[in-house]
């Protein structure tokens, strides 16, 4: 074994390590797959002040502010998170930075846990930002340091694009020492930092000139590497696709773009002139292909069907030959709410109420799948509240509810609630308050009262904020599906804007304690399967059609017991207070 300090790190961990080595002092993010572990890793370094921000716009601005104030700073989020931060991104390209500032976006071709698969390379072009893209964890660590150098050399935010297969791949990564960076002074400089029209006009001119300089850098940068081998086929690629190309076409000439934007046109032209056939292998949009075509380089790109989903090594031949995609994902096991998850009882009650439910982004999105099927729209963070406002106006406030979690409410539900109150909206909004950010693995948020570093802090009072937003009626209830049923019946007909905060004991990801599993009397079971309709992995219909409980999974929430009309399932608890 050698003396180097080598660790088995994911791309996200390697990114945090590299940024730490580059002297980063501040990191901000909002949780989202596949980016969550970047900020979680930052919390492990004592030299870095790492925060979960309220949402991505806030995270971006706080991080940009740290750069203005003179410390190396980093923002990270999933691809759709960057949409929320687009406003500050676009104008920070004009102002530039003070100390190094890197904007990490983790894209998700294949949308394993996302609502879309947008390609952030297009955002770099739109924003006029340099974009770096590594292919592996070890390269991530190397590139992130270069990203900070580019940021400071060119006075610009740098977009750093990860994808699921880079973020969530682990490999041997060599650790190095941290280089401390002195805090830079913030110089009062309105033409740079005050983006009013007169200043911004000049900064736009400067930005266009900066892009030309960045292109020169890109031409000469070791980030873009031409590997000349066989001259029959030359492949241009970026990110993880480079590794698939190396695997499948070991003899081909390859131009690997590590700095994808601005494009190194001369390097591309030179590479294309040395091979007989040029092909582009890239995931998602035909970003590189279109640029090559625009340059007048005849190249072979993928069939449009390959813009959907992630590429795999076995697809590369098809991509180069322009064949259509055939390997659409087959049926896999559907994800379900955890056993004992408090959301289950809410969705059982909503199903029973037969209301139209506008939902949001979080674990409760799983309530949309049958047999629960009690969530009827999901678009983006916070949209449950705003779509609910219109649902209640046009479908009827007695027939619709909005549902979202505590973290999502704080992220972007509050503005929607103010809007509903201001515009005389009516109906019932449900905030499912489990005190954490569940879907991404239980990160704290302002309503938790704990920081990213695990320190106690001010706790946001959800009921109080709903009240001051203008809700006519705010009520906090604890959980059991009957009480939610009764509450809904009582509140839905009322001509008012109500917020029902359903307060849970903790999310099962945090609270692993189990209550006794219910007792099952097979003799009394009429096989109506109502118990199974709560969609819990701990109770199921076996091959012979009998009800079976998985005692190891069961958390003893008794939601299934409440469904049984024949007394076959009975609570094993003496105390009737469940959860």
């Amino acid at each position: 074994m050698n003396t180097k300090n080598i660790k088995f790190l994911s791309g996200n961990e390697a990114l945090a390590q590299g940024a730490w080595e580059a002297g980063v002092k501040f990191a901000a993010s909002y949780p989202g797959t596949p980016a969550t572990e970047i900020l979680e890793s930052f919390t492990q370094y004592k030299e870095i002040d790492a925060q979960w921000s309220v949402n991505e716009k806030v995270a971006f601005e706080v991080a940009l502010g740290a750069s203005f104030a003179g410390v190396r700073s980093i923002y990270s989020s999933k691809h759709v998170g960057l949409n929320v931060a687009m406003d500050p991104l676009m104008t920070s390209m004009y102002s530039g930075i003070n100390a190094g500032f890197v904007v990490v976006t983790a894209d998700e071709p294949g949308m394993h846990s996302s609502q879309n698969e947008q390609d952030s390379r297009l955002i770099a072009k739109f924003a006029k930002a340099p974009l770096l893209e590594p292919c592996s964890p070890s390269e991530t660590k190397k590139f992130i340091k270069t990203a900070f150098e580019i940021s400071e050399q060119f006075d610009t935010p740098v977009i750093f694009r990860m994808t699921t297969r880079v973020s969530h791949t682990k490999e041997n990564v060599e650790l190095e020492e941290r280089t401390e960076k002195e805090q830079k002074k913030f110089e009062i400089n309105p033409p740079k930092y005050v983006m009013v029209p007169a200043n911004a006009y000049k900064k736009h001119i400067a930005l266009e000139e900066k892009l030309i300089k960045l292109q020169e850098y890109s031409e000469n940068s070791a980030l873009n590497v031409a590997e000349l081998k066989d001259n029959e086929l030359g492949i241009v690629c970026d990110g993880v696709t480079y590794l698939y190309v190396k695997e499948k076409y070991p003899n081909a000439s390859v131009l690997k773009l590590g700095m994808v934007y601005p494009f190194p046109d001369k390097k591309i032209k030179e590479f294309a002139s040395k091979v007989k056939k040029v092909a582009v292998v890239e995931e998602s949009e035909p970003f590189i292909e279109e640029h090559l075509l625009q340059m007048g380089i005849k190249c072979f790109g993928k069939h449009y069907t390959y813009r959907v989903g992630e590429l795999k090594p076995e697809n590369i031949k098809d991509v180069i030959e322009g064949n259509p995609k055939t390997d659409y994902p087959g049926p896999s096991r559907k994800p379900v709410l955890c056993p004992g998850c408090p959301h289950r009882a809410v969705f059982v009650a909503l199903r029973k109420s037969k209301v139209t439910v506008s939902g949001d982004i979080g674990c409760y999105t799983l309530g949309s799948l049958p047999p629960l099927a009690a969530l009827h729209s999901t678009i983006c963070m916070g949209a449950s509240v705003t779509i609910f406002e219109s649902f209640s106006r046009y479908i009827g406030h007695e027939k619709t509810v909005g549902v979202l979690g505590d973290s999502t409410f704080v992220h972007s539900g509050i503005t929607g609630l103010i809007n509903a109150a201001y515009n005389k909206g009516k109906g019932v909004l449900l905030i499912l308050d489990n005190g954490t950010t569940g879907m991404t693995g239980a990160q704290p948020n302002p309503a938790t009262g704990v920081t990213a570093k695990g320190e106690k802090t001010k706790k946001l009072d959800l009921a109080a904020i709903c009240k001051v937003c203008g809700a006519d009626h705010v009520e906090v209830v604890d959980l059991s599906s009957e009480s939610i049923d009764i509450k809904l019946k009582e509140l839905l007909p009322k001509d008012q804007l109500s917020v029902l905060i359903v307060r849970y004991s903790l999310c099962k990801l945090i609270d692993r304690t189990k209550l006794p599993a219910p007792k099952f009397d097979a003799g009394k079971c009429k096989k109506c399967y109502m118990c199974v309709s709560v969609d819990c992995p701990a109770i199921f219909k076996n091959e012979s059609g009998d009800i079976q409980l998985n005692m190891e999974l069961c958390a003893g929430c008794d939601v299934c017991v409440a469904m049984c009309k024949f007394g076959a399932l009975t609570s094993a608890k003496k105390d009737t207070n469940r959860l």
Binding site: F8, T33, P34, S136, T169, R333, P335, L337, G441
Partner: protein
């Protein structure tokens, strides 16, 4: 060593990612390049879980190509059947070993350790590295019991 492709599959909560992590680290301790790839998030709410692990001198792709897995380590019959076309023609399928372990081992949390012991019979990795990787990943939890189960499964020649 030629690149070895190991595909782990099953459902959320079975310790699949943990098992894959241990093999990856053990290979790294023995001087190999290891790459492990998986997806997080929605996929782990009781849904399908798969972890691709590739070991060798220099590994490129983080994911295993269809029909190129040398080993299929499944923790679930249904998931095994779904992933069966990932296995090479002459690849090693450890489903029977899992089914046996599922019958024999009452404390299900040790099944992944048992499967690691079975897998270790086929891989040229030192016992020292296996144990070091397990100690790190299990963070010292039930270390002796895990070692015992691992060693028993490793010694059980077919």
């Amino acid at each position: 060593m030629e690149t070895i492709n190991i595909l782990f599959c099953g459902t959320g909560g079975q310790g699949i990612l943990t098992a894959s992590e241990i093999v990856g680290r053990a290979a790294m301790f023995d001087g190999y390049h290891a790459k492990k790839s998986e997806v997080h998030g929605m996929a782990q709410r009781g849904g399908s879980v798969e972890s691709h692990l590739r070991l060798g001198k220099e590994v490129f792709s983080p994911i295993i190509e269809k029909a190129q897995a040398d080993f299929l380590v499944s923790f679930h019959k249904g998931e095994h059947d779904r992933m069966a076309d990932m296995l090479k023609k002459d690849g090693v399928d450890l489903l029977n070993e899992f089914l046996q372990a599922d019958k024999d081992i009452s404390d299900k949390k040790y099944i992944n350790t048992y499967m690691l012991g079975v897998l270790s019979r086929y891989l040229d990795l030192t016992e020292e590295s296996w144990l070091k990787a397990m100690t790190e990943v299990f963070k010292g939890k039930n270390t002796e019991k895990n070692f015992e189960i691992f060693r028993a499964a490793r010694a059980n020649k077919h």
